[in-house]
């Protein structure tokens, strides 16, 4: 069975510090991958989408970047955190054939102080 794992579970970081969040999908080859951001109590905003290794499409950047170094790995990062980066980051995957429902990981809670 396929599993999706996000790390870390939670982070507390200082403004201006770097950030790297990760997501790994096991048990499924060539998944479509998504990064989402959720403000506290808010809706979900798609940040990035990747269909294959090395290919990442940006939806809303928010001074963040994403990379897909391996087929099963999706990384979200920034060199300088802002207060506005606080929130809940969710990774999701779907089957390679489009229109399939994305399935989400447990998320990473980020607090920027």
């Amino acid at each position: 069975a396929q599993t999706i794992h996000q790390w870390p579970v939670a982070e507390i970081k200082a403004v201006g510090s770097p950030l790297s969040l990760g997501c790994t999908i096991k048990g499924k080859s060539s998944p479509n991958l998504y990064w989402y951001w959720q403000a506290t109590g808010g809706t979900l905003q798609q940040l990035f989408y990747s269909i294959t290794v090395g290919q990442v499409e940006s939806v809303v950047q928010l001074n963040l970047s994403a990379s897909r170094p391996k087929d099963d790995q999706f990384i979200l990062s920034t060199e300088k955190l802002l207060l506005s980066h606080s929130g809940f980051y969710l990774c999701a995957w779907s089957l390679w054939d489009n229109n399939q429902a994305p399935l989400f990981g447990e998320g990473t809670r980020l607090s920027v102080l």
Binding site: Q55, N98, N99, A101, P102, E106, R109
Partner: protein, 115 residues
């Protein structure tokens, strides 16, 4: 561009009562629609999905949803609510353009269940 509207930010129902959570979508073409649930401090779980076909779709835990093209709606229903249904519910529509997928969510509806 596609969009989803969930007009009710909060809904309160008594345990055992029936439930309807509303969702209106805007999409050019045939939409693929989903309902997700988010329990406190957790990720999203897929409740059900609509692909073109039968307008009534069944999901997990007794949930179902009905698609209406004429009303641009995809309302979620449950016959008898349980206290464990206390959560936030999101409606979403997916748009596929070539090699790019965009999943757009509504603002969510917070469901509270009274004893």
């Amino acid at each position: 561009a596609q969009s989803v509207t969930q007009p009710d930010a909060r809904v309160t129902v008594s345990e055992g009562a029936s439930l309807q959570l509303r969702c209106k979508y805007s999409y050019f073409g045939t939409p693929y629609l989903f309902w997700y649930v988010q329990y406190p401090r957790q990720g999203l779980q897929l409740l059900l999905k609509y692909y073109p076909g039968d307008p009534v779709v069944q999901g997990v835990n007794g949930f179902e949803a009905e698609f209406s093209k004429s009303n641009s709606s995809f309302h979620l229903r449950k016959a008898s609510v349980h206290w464990s249904d206390w959560a936030v519910y999101f409606c979403a529509v997916i748009k596929v353009s070539g090699s790019f997928n965009k999943l757009t969510f509504g603002a969510g509806t917070r469901l509270a269940v009274c004893p």
